[in-house]
Amino acid sequence: MKKTLGYAVAALLGSTAFASAQGVLNLYNWGNYTSPEMLAAFTAETGIEVTVTDYDSNDTALARIRQGGHGFDIVVPSDTYVPIFIQEGLVQELDDAIVTDRANILPQFLDVPFDPGREYSVPWQWGTTGVIVNTAVYSGDINTADIVLNTPPELQGRLNVIPEMSDVMAIAIYYHGGERCTTDTAILRQVRDTLMAAKPNWLALDYGTVDAYVAGDFDGGLYWNGAAMRVRLQAEQFAYGYPATGYPIWMDNAMVLADAPNRDNAMRFLNFILQPENAAMISNFARYANGIIGGEEGMDEVMRGAPELVIPENLVAAGRWGQVCPQEVNDIHAAIWTELLQ
């Protein structure tokens, strides 16, 4: 009895992960977001074994990292949370001796407001929120927020708008020329009025509607680029537009944690994903765009040059990064949103 108990305890303690010759790397990432092919290539090149642990939201990741004792090396938060991680000292600066290829990052993503000069982070995937339109029904300009906010007659009553408060408010605020966290009550009042006037033209406020678009239930709406691409691949008449007045752009960024147990391995991994062929593997898996020069070449046929993944030159400047607004501003947005949903 005592022997079996002893063996059991030993087996329990012995089931900790054992290190390979080159060491391990512990990646803490969003669920279903890391390409197994890319990890296999990394292990083949460096001999480092990689474990992936999932989180389902930026808040969960932040709470666990703040607590300490997590054992992870790399975390991949969204752009709105990157400044929080940096300010709280939870991540460390990239090692210039190991991470040598930061020049591979696309120029538009090289000097970003949430990490000027890319001292701490490397792009993982990025995406936008824009409008999706059935071009068989409407043949006008689709690069405008008028599709959802001042709907043309052919599309009235045939639209779906994703019920994401941050995306809808952002589009409406940019439409009226404001900054994301503006406190200008004149602009916010206009935003409220525009949204309330636009709402009768919307058929639904739903998530998860790829099937509905393909089935012909909607002819347009506000949508994320990844989902819009999936719609277009099943129903070619749909096109994705970038509102010229301003559209939200988001990016998930890989960073090395300040107390990472395998710091050098983590730096090597970040340099690895700066290579275009590896970034393409991430894109093929996650079905979004990476931020690396030449990153389209390794992508699957259907994704290369897809309008949802490549922003037209003249509309690049209209992309606005998200911001975490002060509580008073959030309260106003919440009030407008509640009124809209009633």
């Binding site: 279903n32 977001y33 197994p36 389902d56 709470a63 054992g71 989902a227």
Partner: protein, 267 residues
């Protein structure tokens, strides 16, 4: 003679009962039906196919997390059942003793406190120990799951124990059996249905726990529920339905056996 009050005679009883069952089970039925969908859609039926089950069983990640979940559930339920048996034997059929209410509260605490609160408390506590000792193995998960499963096993064993006649142990003592022998030959065999039922309940509960596992897991320690939670943030295919159906079938099997064991065993 006046008829006793029977809720079944109230108007609308049948309707409300049917509505309740529909609301509870139709989503699950839809989940199971679409796991057999021939095309990659969770809302439009395209025909019957087993492709998602093949994909799920071939998926290496799914296999790894499933095995880890099952191992963790078995070990935690086993430990929890042992501890719960000891607890039940100590607190049942012994009359009132000082601290009785507090002990019940302590043992049943995971049932009463919201799981998120337990999860965050464990996050802080486990993080502190990790920093102090540097150990990052499965020990934390086993400990957390065991603690969470104890009340389920305890209540099941206690219920069985209360229906046992204490005269049996007295008779054994009269026949010169020592307390240990009385336990081994009389109490334990009669208690086995309760213990097995407690183990199975603990097993199912441990398989199911998301919140605590999400906060306590270390690198590379995904269990099936946390893995599936991670998948949900991005698009899901009917492969999720297939995995969910397989585990639903496993849980149903376990609960059915639990029911059969506890139904009519002994007095």
């Amino acid at each position: 003679m006046a008829k006793g009050f029977n809720v079944r005679t109230l108007p609308g009883f049948g309707g409300v009962a049917i509505l309740t069952f529909v609301l509870l089970y139709v989503p699950i039925v839809i989940l199971v039906v679409f796991s057999f969908n021939a095309e990659n859609s969770q809302t439009v039926w395209h025909g019957f196919s087993l492709r998602w089950y093949e994909a799920a069983l071939a998926n290496e990640q799914v296999r790894e997390v499933s095995i880890r979940s099952l191992w963790l559930a078995a070990v935690s339920a086993g430990l929890a059942t042992v501890l719960a048996t000891l607890a039940a034997l100590g607190t049942t059929r012994v009359g009132r003793f000082p601290g009785q209410t507090m002990i019940y509260a302590l043992i049943n605490q995971p049932l009463m406190v919201p799981e998120i609160v337990t999860g965050i408390a464990l996050l802080i506590f486990v993080a502190w120990i990790k920093i102090a000792t540097g150990y990052t193995g499965m020990g934390y998960m086993v400990a957390a799951h065991t603690a969470f499963c104890i009340p389920f096993a305890y209540l099941s064993i206690r219920a069985r124990l209360e229906t046992m006649d204490p005269a049996l142990e007295s008779a054994a003592a009269d026949l010169y059996a020592s307390p240990v022998q009385a336990f081994r030959y009389i109490t334990l065999p009669l208690l086995v249905p309760g213990i097995v039922a407690g183990f199975m309940l603990g097993f199912v509960v441990s398989l199911d726990t998301v919140v605590i596992t999400e906060f306590v897991k270390s690198a590379g320690q995904e269990t099936l529920p946390t893995w599936m939670l991670g998948q949900l943030r991005r698009t899901t295919t009917p492969e999720m339905n297939a995995i969910a159906t397989l585990f639903l079938a496993l849980s149903l099997l376990i609960v059915t056996v639990f029911f059969l064991i506890t139904r009519t065993r002994g007095r």
